[in-house]
Amino acid sequence: MIGRSTSPRNVASAEEPIVYVVDDDASVRDALRSLFRSVGLRVEVFGSAPEFLQSKLPDVASCLILDIRLPRLSGLDFQVDLARAGIHIPIIFMTGHGDIPMTVRAMKAGAVDFLTKPFRDQDMLDAVTAAIERDRNSRDEAKILSDLRARFGTLTSREREVMALVTAGLMNKQVAAEIGIAEITVKIHRGQIMRKMAAKSLADLVKMAQTLGLQRAAPPQ
């Protein structure tokens, strides 16, 4: 997720995906810009990794096309830096022949694709389309998760406790015994939880608990 504020110029086209290209070779850079623009993609090119990092990145679906052999800061190091900075952008690496060990490293570090120079235009466009789709999906998932977290945030600590036990499969009676309250009280909490979390069914609530990584607290000694 790109956690930077959007610049004013990007507000108007906030929903339009952007392709970022980082390559020290101006020819390749410019050729890619022309190619992406010819299919109507927004594109931003950079000559080096620091240039890319210094620019304001809008909060839209995007992907990064990176030459694996960048001078000074290599594409791989850059990939690591981005991950450390919590910038999760799908990366497509451009590699040369004989760069297999580097490619393996890149893929392990989460690159979505790699293309060997010179590449077919369609391959590049397909890779970009897939990467943007992926970014869009992950952005959607992230949105769902953040909504869920916000709703979970509205629960009281007792309600969270009850939710953890209920979604772990305990009956109301067992929950009541577990935390030492009346069964009727458990029922009230449960109703509150279902409403606050906007769960349609217990199964729905269980899924939510899984998404949130909610776990039953260890039973008291």
Partner: protein
């Protein structure tokens, strides 16, 4: 003495006449007294005659007495004279004997058969014999076996030409077997007893002969040395235009040995292409009278070409004229060998270059791939711009322009690589060394990247040009840079940085240095670094630096290596700057 003799004979005649007068007077007296008619008158006459006779006798006695005294004195003086003469003769003989015996000339007197009749002491001593051991022996005894025929013949010649002096030079052998050289003067004479003898006088000429031999040997050595070294000598008196050549010089110029050599002969032989230059050198030398040293080609009658190198030193002769003493060397073989060596070196350099490029294949592929990737992407973009519902010609045009540029760029890389790989003729042209450095670096980006090495270039602007072969100089730089990169491979604790510098020193030299911060040089390796087949790399052939050095040296420069004060090593080569009047 003659006068005395005359006087003596005159007095003897007088005594004789006196005696005869007395006898006549006595006879007359006797006739008067005892004759047929004696008378008084006659007696008186007889008495008178007797008195006269007496007187005459008295006179005669006196006369005879004085004559005898005179004769005795005469005889006495005669005896003494004789004694003196004998003594003088004896003295003279002794003197002559002395001369004969001890004159530093060996005298032999031999008979017609060659038997020694006489030899002087000096002669015998010279040969190490006592005189008596030679007397009566054949004179051949003092000659070497192989020379004896010559002796016999020479003696025979003398005997056939009596009275004529003949001379010859020959070796004699001493009693101890050692040899001496003599010059013999001999003459046959007929003795009173009608026997023919040969008188021989000989002088020792061993020293002269040795000197002559030494001189001859020295001349032979010189001639042999000249022949072996293909070096002839010459002398040239400028004023008299007199030129003297050694045999080898004649041979080099391909002329038969002649008593006189002219400058025209020399010039005629010089290759037409070199003639003007050589003539200029000759003219300058003759007018300036300064040492000269030049090289030119000769075109021989059989159309072959010879390379000669002439060098001469000017000396001032007795009459203040300038004379050149010089040597001319046939350097054709040397030239050919140098050419072959040069060929071999070029071949080796070429192989090394090809090998180095092979190792850089990935880097070179990258350099071609970059523009190729751009070309393909641009071409695709151009198509898409054109395929749009409303074709965007402007964008398509821009993309196509880029294709042209990138295509050219890829072509240049390939050309550069091909130039390095193709075996081209060595070509010296004026070059900007910075340009050469940049051309090499364009092939090495990926290599530098792959080894995580950063490159710092400090190329001095506005450097003078050097004259050299672009490809070979690129090879040197390539080699030094790749070596530097490799030297930094083991380095993990510091930044790997390669520095390439160019600058010009005070002495009109362009210097190129390639410094690394790698493993550096050990003292032991530093000495052997430029030796062929010396390598510290597991996969290296060890020819790289050796080839680099020979390339730099063939450009009139020097390649050296030094240890950095910090980590690593620095290689530097110098190249002379192009001279203004240099005609490549």
């Amino acid at each position: 003495m003659r006068n005395q003799k005359l006087k003596f004979s005159r007095s003897a005649e007088q005594s004789l006449l006196g005696g005869m007068a007395l006898a006549w007077l006595a006879a007359a007296c006797i006739w008067l007294v005892l004759g047929p008619a004696p008378d008084i008158a006659d007696h008186l006459i007889a008495v008178a005659l007797l008195i006269a006779l007496f007187l005459a006798a008295m006179i005669l006695v006196h006369l005879v007495g004085s004559t005898r005294k005179q004769m005795e004195a005469e005889l006495d003086s005669r005896t003494r004279a004789e004694q003196r003469a004998t003594e003088a003769l004896r003295e003279s003989e002794a003197q002559w004997k002395e001369v004969f015996e001890h004159n530093p000339v060996m005298y032999f007197m031999v008979d017609a058969d060659g038997t020694v009749l006489s030899v002087n002491t000096f002669g015998a001593v010279q040969l190490g014999y006592p005189v008596n051991e030679l007397l009566g022996q054949s004179v051949l005894k003092v000659f070497f076996e192989e020379d004896r025929d010559l002796v016999r013949n020479s003696v025979a010649v003398c005997l056939n030409n009596i009275g004529q002096t003949h001379s010859w030079e020959i070796r004699k052998v001493r009693k101890d077997g050692s040899a001496l050289w003599v010059r013999e003067n001999a003459k046959a004479v007929r003795r009173q007893d009608n026997r023919l003898i040969v008188l021989i006088a000989c002088e020792d000429i061993t020293e002269r002969k040795e000197a002559e031999n030494a001189l001859r040997q020295s001349r032979n050595y010189l001639a042999e040395a000249q022949r072996l070294s293909h070096t002839g000598s010459f002398g040239w008196r400028v004023a008299t235009r007199e030129i003297i050549w050694s045999d080898e010089t004649f041979r080099i110029f391909g002329f038969d040995k002649a008593p006189s050599v002219t400058l025209d002969m020399v010039v005629r032989r010089i290759h037409p292409d070199d003639r003007a230059g050589a003539q200029q050198n000759i003219d300058r030398a003759s007018s300036d009278g300064r040492d000269f040293d030049h090289e030119y080609r000769l075109l021989m009658p059989d159309d072959s070409t010879k390379y000669v190198h002439a060098t001469a030193h000017a000396v001032t002769d007795a009459s203040d004229g300038v004379e050149f003493v010089g040597a001319v060397t046939d350097v054709t073989e040397h030239k050919r060998a140098a050419e072959i060596l040069h060929e071999a070196q070029a071949e080796l350099a070429h192989v090394a270059r090809a090998t180095a490029l092979g190792e850089l294949a990935a880097s070179i592929a990258h350099e071609v791939n970059q523009p190729l990737a751009a070309v393909i992407a641009n071409a695709a973009a151009a198509l898409r711009w054109l395929d749009r519902e409303t074709p965007n010609l402007k964008e398509a045009h821009t993309a196509l322009e880029s294709i042209v540029n990138d295509g050219n760029r890829a072509g240049e890389v390939i050309q550069r690589v091909r130039a390095l790989v193709t075996r081209t003729a060595y070509q010296k042209v004026p070059l900007d060394i910075n340009e050469v450095v940049n051309e090499v670096i364009t092939l090495l980006h990926r290599e530098l990247f792959g080894q995580r090495t950063s490159l710092r270039m400090e190329l001095a602007p506005g450097l003078g040009l050097v004259v050299g072969d672009r490809i070979q100089l690129q090879q040197v730089i390539l080699n030094l840079v790749v070596n530097g990169i490799e030297a930094m491979q083991p380095v993990t604790d510091r930044r790997r940085e390669l520095v390439i510098r160019t600058h010009q020193d005070e002495g009109r030299q362009i210097l190129v240095t390639v410094g690394d911060c790698g493993v550096g040089l050990t003292a032991e390796n530093a000495d052997r670094l430029f030796d062929p087949f010396f390598t510290t790399k597991s996969g290296g052939m060890g020819m790289g630096l050796s080839i680099c050095r020979s390339i730099v040296e063939s450009h009139g420069g020097q390649l050296s290596a030094s240890r950095n004060t910090g980590p690593g090593a620095t290689f530097q080569f110098s190249l002379p700057m192009q001279q203004e009047d240099n005609t490549p």
